[in-house]
């Protein structure tokens, strides 16, 4: 990760975000606000409230009126997959208070999410920077693995970003051409890592103990844990990008956005976000049966047996103790007297104390912000684990 430099002119300091939620500077030329801009101070809470009200009104109008009903006018903000995408200024205005940011340009996915999940979006922006700049293992190999995952998921956005990250890490156009031509790697380690990336994306349950063991022998346990987390993030992110219909930003992929959001005051408990119910009943009901010939290949009892087998198998990586895992963690987020007992959490926190906690922060933030019904959430999770034959 490049060192943070508060004197670097490309970085934005907190005052700019706090005092001028709407930016006067042109894209790519992001500077401190002028004295005149400072005099037009608007409290950020008021700005967020105003933008939220405007969005809510726009959303209600577009939900209740057919396309073109308002005199054929185009909406102010582009909509993707029926979901509004804000411009940079409006999105920043909704995000939590910023301490420091390397650019004013937000990736399109952040502008699509900021309206309804601002706090989660903030956590995701910090997460994205960490994952895109991580040096937990070779950066070129990381970018190439990300490229392989993006291609397997057919996510053009991620593929373009992975190419940019590969070039930034010292890769060449020839490296990209080789990947595009289907090259599987020039060394045994290279081949194993790229194959691992593909299998983790398309059929993670078929990855073998031997494949992981080889990577650990060659690289060590911590880098391989990072590889798993990178592929996990890729499969989260690609699905989100595809679902949002995200297209690469004008001018090409944006560089990793280094941004730090201020932590909320300890006495402030963020409220769940507002979730208006649909205005009209759904035009058609969902099918009552799942149309997948493979679905019934395993009945409930067989699924239980697979899960029981998972209890007695050996893991592929060591599980750190809570005492060792917590050493590098923020005690405010992970109080020493509340030990984590979940094995995967111990693995990611203990072996990757930057990548792991950043993801868990996203989960916690989303949980509080979306405040969905937990039975519904976990049932949906069950459907996905069954779909992927992940008996865990």
């Amino acid at each position: 990760m490049p060192p943070r430099n508060p004197e670097n002119s490309s970085h934005v300091r907190s005052t700019a975000f706090r005092r001028t939620p709407r930016f006067a500077a042109s894209p790519g030329c992001f500077t401190q606000p002028s004295a005149g801009a400072r005099s037009n101070f608007v409290p950020p809470a008021l700005v967020r409230f105003t933008v939220a009200v405007v969005l809510l009104v726009c959303t209600s109008l577009t939900c209740s009126a057919p396309a073109g009903a308002a005199g054929g006018e185009e909406p102010a903000a582009p909509a993707t997959r029926g979901l509004p995408v804000l411009d940079d200024d409006d999105a920043w205005a909704l995000l939590p208070e910023v301490e420091d940011a390397s650019s004013r340009r937000l990736p399109v996915w952040a502008r699509a999410l900021a309206g309804s999940l601002p706090r989660t979006t903030a956590a995701m922006l910090e997460l994205d920077y960490l994952y895109r700049t991580s040096d937990a293992f070779d950066r070129k190999l990381r970018a190439r693995m990300r490229w392989v995952a993006a291609r397997a998921n057919r996510c053009e956005y991620s593929r373009a970003v992975a190419e940019a990250d590969l070039l930034a890490a010292g890769g060449t156009r020839q490296d990209i051409e080789q990947l595009a031509a289907g090259a599987t790697g020039s060394t045994p380690l290279d081949r194993a890592a790229l194959s691992f990336a593909r299998k983790m994306t398309l059929a993670a349950s078929t990855v073998t103990d031997e494949e992981v063991s080889y990577l650990i022998e060659e690289l060590g346990e911590r880098p391989v844990v990072a590889m798993v987390l990178q592929m996990a993030y890729a499969n989260f992110q690609d699905r989100l990008l595809i679902s949002l219909g995200s297209e690469i930003e004008p001018g090409g992929p944006l560089p990793p956005l280094e941004v730090h959001f201020a932590a909320p005051p300890p006495d402030q408990k963020p409220e769940p976000a507002a979730r208006p119910a649909p205005i009209e009943p759904a035009p058609e009901s969902a099918p009552q049966k799942i149309a997948d010939s493979d679905w019934k290949s395993l009945n409930f009892l067989q699924l239980q047996e697979r899960m029981e087998a998972q209890r007695s198998r050996s893991g592929r990586v060591s599980v750190p103790t809570w005492e060792s895992a917590r050493r590098e963690l923020d005690p405010k987020l992970y109080p020493p007297d509340r030990p984590v007992r979940i094995k995967w959490s111990l693995v990611v926190l203990g072996h990757q104390p930057r990548l792991g906690p950043a993801w868990i922060k996203c989960l916690r933030t989303f949980g509080r912000e979306a405040n969905q019904d937990r039975v519904f959430e976990e049932t949906l999770f069950w459907v996905i684990t069954r779909s992927l034959q992940c008996f865990y």
């Binding site: 029926g82 979901l83 844990v225 590889m227 699905r239 759904a282 989960l363 937990r374 959430e377 865990y392």
Partner: protein
């Protein structure tokens, strides 16, 4: 009990309700689930198997059922599960035997457990 079942227990379902729910899901008939939930589960299934086929119509079905904001929550959560399954499949850690998502019982309550079992 796998992690999803453990989390269903944390969400408030008892063992019988969890088994009943999972058995229904394992079958092909999901008619007992409300239409919005069915739409979400079908979306999640398709997104798991063929993410590249998710299009505007799939998202619109969620919006129809949940509204825009909630639909986005469903999508986010569905995507989130793919991080978790890759971690599970990558590490293949042995499943815990107790529900590690629930706070450990206080010693006094834990000591009472055998007596409760015996009295049944």
């Amino acid at each position: 009990m796998g992690h999803t079942e453990m989390l269903l227990a944390v969400a408030g379902l008892d063992s019988a309700k969890i088994a009943e729910r999972c058995e229904k899901l394992a079958g092909e008939d999901w008619s007992e689930f409300p239409p919005a939930e069915r739409a979400a589960y079908l979306f999640a299934h398709k997104q798991a198997k063929t993410p590249w086929d998710i299009g505007a119509a799939d998202v619109q079905k969620l919006i129809d059922q949940f509204g825009r904001e909630r639909a986005l929550d469903v999508i986010w959560w569905s995507c989130r599960c793919h991080y978790m399954t890759r971690v599970a499949d990558g590490f293949q850690l042995p499943l815990e035997r107790e529900n590690v998502f629930q706070a450990p019982k206080p010693p006094a309550e834990a000591a009472e457990e055998p007596k409760k079992e015996e009295s049944k």
